[in-house]
Symmetry: C2
């Protein structure tokens, strides 16, 4: 008579099913306010369930105020329950990621995970969890694991000659989050952020999502053109965001005179410099470049990440902050995501402490250097002087100029259809049209053989389309 169908093996308790059936009738108006429900004994009899089950369902309904019951009186439907419309729970579906493979996959920003020491890392994750002190399972502060901050300080010193105190190093969930959090600081809040053009679209997006407008300054093969800063009205900006050790995407190392010019400009205009050192481990000639921060610790915030040197899903980066930017950092992190989880941090601290990190970076640097050579050689063999590599010998991608050609969104769509993933530099440009003859080519994740055949495949595509 109630039209309630309960299923014994559905994974949902019988009481819960009855509760929901009755609740739905009340919110959909089938049971009216003040209407009396049968007693639990009667309900149990009608549905062929135990009295306990009926009592449990009634108790849930009473607890949530759907029904009122008092001793000796019938249980009645509460008032004001009817909703408009109805909810249709959809079917459970399996989630399957879409995977596609490319004949020439020149995407950027991907380290080669096949060479990652997974086994070592798994042992360290286990060891890290084993040895993690109990207070690190609790809220442990938004600054990050003390051991990791100390190891990063030491690694900055031995790899870049950058002397930093652990307490000035703040762990983040990658360099994207470092920018996201910086963008939330009241000291940087303003209408504009001064950025290189072209620049990393995702990183620019981190600023824009927090309400900043981009104030572009052109970059060339040697990085930000600091000469263009002279006389610029920076009154709506509090910061300059730059990638001086390997300009993204053109690949230049900012020369010392431009560094000094940038620092003087920032000082004169009361600007902070946000220095993103996103892949300076991978420099194939000479030591990593000394960060801007080593020249001006009061105005430069230095942002680094382990996504490229280890693996992207690690989600550990850091910001070395000038004193003036530390006041609101903790409060700002607490309302964003509180802190990093401890396991990856502990494993990374141990990976750094035992110098396994240094060994891994050395190995990958040699490997990536060979791949870069293979790419440049293949390009020269196939394109000759029709293709000119830009920038310095660093990073996991290279910018290429093809004089006389034009690469746009349509080009990249057509290439994709043919199994080629490659990014026109225009994609990263704020002011369009200046870099239409350039492509950004990622190579870090490809073996030399794959690089060579991808270059040949790509040149066929270019010729077929007679660009």
């Amino acid at each position: 008579m109630w039209g309630i169908g309960l299923q014994r093996r559905s994974g949902i308790s019988m009481a819960r099913q009855l509760y929901r059936a009755l609740r739905d009738r009340m919110t959909q108006g089938g049971l009216k306010p003040g209407e009396a429900l049968p007693s639990t004994r009667e309900m149990a009899r009608q549905l062929g369930i135990s009295r306990n089950t009926a009592c449990e369902a009634y108790a849930m309904l009473a607890d949530e105020g759907f029904i009122h019951s008092s001793p000796g009186a019938p249980t009645r439907v509460a008032a004001g329950l009817v909703l408009e419309g109805e909810r249709h729970p959809a079917q459970m579906e399996q989630i399957k990621p879409a995977i596609r493979s490319y004949a020439a996959d020149f995407r950027t920003g991907r380290p080669d995970l096949r060479r990652f020491p997974f086994h070592q890392w798994r042992l360290l994750i286990g060891k890290g969890a084993e040895e993690l002190p109990p207070e690190q399972w609790d809220y442990a502060g938004p600054e990050g694991l003390p051991a990791l901050r100390e190891e990063i300080a030491q690694w900055l010193m031995r790899s870049r000659g950058l002397e930093e105190r652990p307490q000035d190093i703040f762990i983040t969930a990658g360099s994207t989050q470092a920018l996201h959090l910086l963008a939330g600081l009241p000291e940087l809040k303003a209408g504009e952020i001064i950025v290189e053009d072209p620049c990393h679209t995702g990183m620019l997006g981190a600023w824009q999502a927090m309400g900043f407008a981009a104030r572009p300054v052109p970059a060339d093969g040697s990085g930000l053109q600091t000469g263009l800063l002279e006389g610029m009205d920076a009154s709506n900006a509090r910061a300059v965001y730059v990638t001086p050790s390997h300009q993204f995407p053109l690949g230049g190392i900012l020369p010392a005179a431009r560094r000094a010019e940038l620092i003087r400009f920032a000082g004169k205009n009361g600007l902070f410099i946000i220095e993103d050192d996103y892949d300076s481990e991978f420099r194939y000639a000479g030591a990593p470049v000394a960060p801007l921060r080593s020249m001006d610790g009061e105005h430069v915030a230095y942002v680094g990440t382990f996504s490229k040197s280890l693996f992207p899903a690690l989600r550990i980066g850091f910001a070395v902050l000038p004193a003036a930017l530390q006041a609101h950092w903790a409060a700002n992190r607490r309302v964003a995501d509180v802190q990093n989880p401890p396991f990856g941090q502990a494993a990374l601290a141990e990976f750094l402490r035992t110098r396994k990190f240094d060994r891994h970076v050395r190995l990958m640097r040699r490997l990536y250097g060979q791949r870069r050579e293979a790419l440049l050689q293949a390009l020269e063999d196939v394109f000759g002087s029709a293709c000119i590599p830009l920038g310095d010998a660093a990073g996991l991608h290279v910018a290429l100029r093809f004089p006389g050609m034009r690469f746009d969104g349509e080009f990249s769509r057509q290439a994709r259809v043919q199994g080629i993933r490659v990014t026109p530099a225009e994609f990263y440009c704020i002011k369009k049209g200046e870099h239409a003859d350039k492509l950004i080519v990622g190579f870090g994740h490809l073996e030399p053989d794959a690089i060579r055949s991808a270059v040949v495949y790509f040149s066929d595509f270019i010729r077929r389309n007679a660009l």
Copy 2:
């Protein structure tokens, strides 16, 4: 003659030290633009170092543009290097957390980690890392680990009768981040967020940090007073943020009629409801409350966390999103922190799959229920009718009313000096003065004996200060 002191055992290479010494002289003006440096051979002789070391230092300087050298000509200092001021790198210091203990530590929101199955969890972290498929070490998408989304869907069904598809569940770094990310969605962007008053200051802070102004609506011992919504001008708001299953901090379960009223109000005004189910696992009488979302899946976003049921540093929560809020979620997460790291997600998926989670929650619910009983009994023994507990039997804290008393910031400071950590309800109030006679008392992390002696200690303090 150069006044350069190099130290052989400093942990920084000799070349790096020489590079820095020369660079500092150039940026501070000691070496002038155009000035010739000695040859590397001469420099090596003067400093008593190997020629290779000097060459390496010169190469670093040349790479970064500090010096120019050409074959057959002396190496010269580049132009435009001088900076104003100077950088004083500070000493490395050990980071030591400040720890203090309290005679009566009634802080809120702390689960009892002493009962946490650390060993099980460590095994799962290891197992999770072991079995993690390679693509999960790469950028794996901002939605979260598929296995975890499926396990959460099943757990929502068996624990709350909430039927959700895994693809509507988005993993976050805790519930704070869920709110932080929701606040960044264009669909919710507006001047105001409608909130309960009092409410959780930290969660309110998550909205405010993203530019929202709080539009408070009074809550009482049964949660949000939905009757006060009638006729309210909600034109500057897109969402209502509520804690219906255990109102923070007053502790009420929102009755069904208020639920329906809230949903009707939201529907009429085109508002989303953000339902924060922060600790509904811990309900000591009856089953967990059915979420608002089960009544209106189109307008309710349901936010949950494992910080209270497992441990705070885990940083895993989730949001179950209506279709209308999913369009910009991924893009918004990508510019915030990209995604959660995989290890905790994999361990949690396994913890849920094997029902170890359910067992742990059952155990803790019994334990916390006993502690709540011990607290209420001790309060009755010591204060009698001078102390009235509010709200329902749920959660890790209880709101207490002391008729005739007034608790403010000064009270809480004085209590702290005496070793008592307790929060006046006023601390959580937007409109001050309505709840001055109430205290919020956390008990989840305290053993019954500690609770009893803390209550006695606290009552002594109250009497001594004759409040």
